[in-house]
Amino acid sequence: MAEKELMYGNHALVEGVIYAGCRFFAGYPITPQNEVPEYMSIRMNEVGGVFLQTESELAAINMLFGAASAGARAMTSSSSPGISLMQEGLSYIAGADVPVLVANIVRGGPGLGNIAPAQSDYFQSVKSGGHGDYHTIVLAPNSVQELFEFPKLAFELAEKYRNPALLLADGLLGQMMEPVEIKGEPVDPKSLPEQDWWLTGCKGRERRVIRSYDLRPGKLEEWNWRRWEKYQTIIKNEQRYEGIKIDDAEIIIVAYGTSSRVAEAGLRIAREKGIKVGLLRPITLWPFPADIISELSKRIENFLVIEMSLGQMIEDVKLAIEGRSKVHFIGHPGGGLPNAQEVYNKIVEIRGKK
C-alpha cells in the first residue's frame, strides 16, 4: 500500500490539481478556500506553473477561458459569491466547448451569507448557473482523499467531452485534515497531445476560431442540438455514485459530499439497531445518477434526502423516482450541519409512519 500523508482539504485539492498536470491557476481570495490560492502560489512556483491572483472572479474565469483555449489544463477555485461572478464566463466557456476546472468550496448563502459549509449551490452547479442551455460536469468529493483524486478525473472528463467541469465541495471538506493516499502516476502536462482545436498560432495549418455565437438563422439551434447530443452521451456514460449497504436496504438515504458522511454515521446507528438502511451517494451531481435511483425506487418505499440546503438535489431524486416512492427530507440551510442522531431519529420516524 502506498504511503499515506495527513493533509488539509484545501491543500489536498491543490496537490491533486498539480498531480493532474494543471499548470495554470487564476483566482481571487474568498473564505473558506483561501488556502487554495495561498498554497497554489507556492506550489505553482515550485512546479514552474502559472499562478495569478486576479482583480476579480470575472477576470479569473476569463483567464481560464484563454489559457484552456491555448491548450493549458487550467483551474480556478472560489466559494459561492465568487462562483456567481464566474457564471458569465462559464456560459461562454460552455458555449465555446472549452474544458476548464472550477472548484467551489461552498459557503452559506444567498448573498454574502456566511462562511460556514453549505450545499446551497447545487441548483447553480447542475442546472447551469449562467445564461443559455448548457451543463457543466459536476463532481462532489466527500473526503480529503477525493479532493486529491477528483481533479484528475474532472480534467479527463472535461477534456473528453470538451466541457467545463466543477468540483462541488464545501467549507468543511476544505478545512479538515485526513490521511491521503497518493495514488496513480502524476500527469506530465507536456505529455498531453495537442488537440485539433487549440489556439497555438496557425503555423503550417488553417487558422482556428473559438467562439460561442452563430448569428446565422437556425445555426445556433443546430449547434445547441449537437451539444444536447453530447450531454445525452455524458448522461448515459458518466453517472457515478457510491452505494453503501443498498442491496438489502429498506430505506435509502441519498446524500452527497459532507452530508453523505453524516448520513453514513446515521446509517451505522440504524444498522446497529437492526434497521436496514442504505446510502446512495451521488459522486457526479451532473450527470445525476438517476438510473440507479430509478432502479432502486422499484423496490424501496422510502427515500431520505439529506442536504445542507433548503432542498435542491431532492428535485432530481424525485424526478428519478417518478412518484414510485415517498421522499423525505432533512435540510440545513445557512451553514448548519446535520448530525447522525438526527438522521437516525428521522429514520425511526419514517419507519413509524409505515
Binding site: 483567464m63 477561458f65 458569465e88 489556439l199 497555438t200 487558422r207
Partner: protein, 249 residues
Amino acid sequence: MKLLFGRPSGLTEIKQRYCPGCGHGIVHRIIGELLVEMNIREKAIGIAPVGCSVFADEYFNCDMIQVPHGRAPAVATGIKRARPDCFVFSYQGDGDLAAIGTAETIHAAARNENITIIFINNAIYGMTGGQLAPTTLPGMRSTTSVKGRDVVKQGYPIRVCELLNGLDGPYYLERVAVDTPKNIIKTKKAIKTAFQYQLDNKGFSLIEVLSMCPTGWGVTPIQAKKWIAEVMAKYYPMGEFRNRAKEVK
C-alpha cells in the same frame, strides 16, 4: 500581370460588414498588413470583442477567439501566460473596454501584461444602436442622451490613455486617429511599435484609435472625418502618452 495593391494575407477573403465610412475596416487592414509584414501571422492569437467588431474573428487570418464583453484583457492574459511564444492582441471598442471591461483593462495594464490592445474609440455604442458610451463627449447626442450628454446627470467621459498613464505598469500608450491618410500612417506606425514591444517582451501596450461611426453619429462619412479633427481630437488629444523605451535609463 503584377498585383500592385490587394488584400493583405493577414485578412481573410470574407467580405466585411462594416458601414460605409466606418473606421474598423481601416484598422483591420493595418493589423492585417502588420501580421504579414512583421511575420507574426502564424504565431498570432487575436481576441475578438463584443460589439460591431465581434466579427473580427472572421476577418483576421490567424487563430482567433471571441470572448465575453469587456473581458478580453483577462482572456489575453490567460493565453499569453499559457503560451508566451504566441503573439496576443485584443481588438476592443469603447463600451467593451471602458465600461464593462474597465477593471480588466486597468489591471492588465497594471500588471504590464505582455499583450497588445487595439482600442477603437468612436465615442458611441455602434452595434446596439448608438447609445451613450463612456467616451461620449459632453453635449454629444446619443439614443440615451437625446438632448446631448449632460455631465451633471450622466457624468464625464473617460480618457483611457490618460487614465492608464496614471499607472506605473503600462509600457506604451498612444492615441491616434484614422480620419486622414497622414493619421492612418501614424496609426500603423503606432500599432507596429506596440506589436514590436510585445515581441521584445516589453509588456503592455494600448493604442487608442479615434475612429468614425457615421451611422451612430447620424452624419455622412465626410462629416464624420471632419468631426474627429474638429471636435473629438480636441477632447481626446492625440500623441504618445507613455513609451518606456524612451524614458531615461
